[in-house]
Symmetry: C2
Subunit: 295 residues, 2 copies
């Protein structure tokens, strides 16, 4: 069963009003934004990724979902599979680093043991407060689509990790992403729609357009690439479908200038579907727009 | 690293005030009780346990923690590894059954894919409201220790599941435990301390005594066994160390009679440590008091 089919089935269960029909990355409970991410060894991280970086990324990806709602970090919970002492120790050092860096206090969670040799599966749930909480479905016809930072560094960093050598900046962007909490805070009450880019710019932008009931035209030549990413020969199309970026994607009225560093990459219009341009000319969509679980 | 060592390290991290130093089964956040349980295939459930029962047990064990706080169920989140369509379908049917049975609306969560053949690791986080929330640390010298229901059925049911044949009642108690939500609601504002029995009556009772800074004497011949459990030849000592019961364990003033069906099994006194009696005579503690993660 793929993720979409599973979600369809979940929607037939009793849902909490704060679940928004399971159509957003986060829920709302007692005035808090709630989000949860699970990472699987061999799927979301490599078996030989440093455990401290796994801890960082697990927390940072959750905080990125809070950033997209403009929330302040209230607490996190951790569900952790105990394994060998060296791995656990290194993980705890990374957990200390990321929880101190983003002021993310631990509320609780669970620890379990694993069958010998089983891949680790780790879950963090994050809670945010005081959020303006723009939905992903709020884009309006005529809005511009913007993205913070640069796109494709995560994917290029994954290639570095797999190769075992390459640019340290890109590797760091893959292993220790920066949740855009300050940017989200500055943007949230001004934008029509916002979400983070986790599965790929194209697929996430297409999701925002679909959730908003609009069409979207995205200019590949506007996609912001970092200098190290360009130096690897990464194309804009590869960058825009690679995922693991954890930048903020937001829709705002044409003519409005964001208060944070961001790049305009597209425009919403009535209708449906995603179109790509390069040099002003239409280009075909790639087979895959990004990462889809269970696909 | 065992669970105790891991928790000690976690306590050095920034903690939320509602974490209570990570010394309770639940936390408190925005007035809600928060609890989270992870179940691992091959550890917390058998690879050939029916997926619908796995769903039931995963939700029910979390609701059991809410029951121990006297909470009403507000919401749950689910972190789920997609695998094959038949397993996912059966799991969803069990999830529908348990969420309807206990009025537990879904708030959100995450779905992931697994490497081929990896054991499933599933997490549910549950949120409860309006809880009197007795701590596990509140027992007072002279208090009686009580337990709801019967003890040892879960362990005896696990033996049935492993054998592939045996008593259906015991198997049901193992696979579909009943969270004592109504009992917890009736007890919570009257008792000094309460927790659920998940790892074994002896280990959980010893934890309540230690958290309360008291000694505890527990009468093995008072431990309530069901008729089907007795029929298997289960001893009180085996029942009291088997775990998987999900009954409520609570401390209350001597002379007080609980408003729900429960059995008095022990007495708290100044000092520390757990002592056992049988027929009024002291008996030695077993090597293992119950299930300890990572031990």
């Amino acid at each position: 069963m793929d993720e979409a089919a599973f979600l369809t089935r979940l929607r037939a269960l009793p849902l909490h009003p704060g679940a928004y029909g399971l159509r957003d990355d986060t829920g709302t409970l007692a005035g808090l934004v709630v989000t949860s991410d699970t990472m699987v060894q061999g799927v979301h991280f490599l078996p030989d990724d440093p455990p401290a970086d796994v801890a960082w990324k697990l927390v940072a990806t959750n905080l990125s979902d809070l950033a997209a709602k403009g929330a302040l970090v209230e607490a996190i919970t951790l569900n952790y599979p105990l394994s060998n002492a060296a791995w656990d120790d290194a993980f705890l050092r990374g957990l200390a680093a990321v929880t101190h860096a983003y002021d993310a206090p631990l509320l609780g969670g669970d620890t379990v043991t694993l069958p010998l040799g089983a891949p680790r599966i780790l879950t963090v749930t994050a809670f945010g407060r005081d959020a303006a909480a723009p939905p992903r479905s709020g884009a309006q016809a005529g809005d511009a689509l913007w993205v913070t930072g640069t796109i494709g560094d995560g994917g290029a960093g994954l290639a570095v990790a797999r190769a075992g050598h390459g640019d340290a900046y890109l590797l760091g962007r893959y292993r220790r992403p920066t949740p855009r909490l300050a940017e989200g805070r500055a943007l949230a009450s001004h934008v029509h729609a916002m979400m983070d880019v986790s599965d790929g710019l194209l697929i996430d932008a297409a999701r925002m357009a679909a959730a908003s009931g609009l069409s979207l035209t995205l200019a590949l030549d506007a996609v912001p690439l970092s200098t190290p990413a360009r130096a690897t020969g990464l194309t804009a199309l590869a960058a825009a479908t690679a995922g693991d970026d954890y930048e903020l994607l937001f829709a705002a009225p044409a003519g409005w200038t964001p208060p944070v560093a961001a790049t305009r990459v597209g425009r919403f219009a009535p209708g449906s579907g995603l179109s790509l341009t390069q040099g002003g000319a239409s280009v075909p969509l790639p087979t895959s727009l990004g990462y889809q679980h269970g696909a």
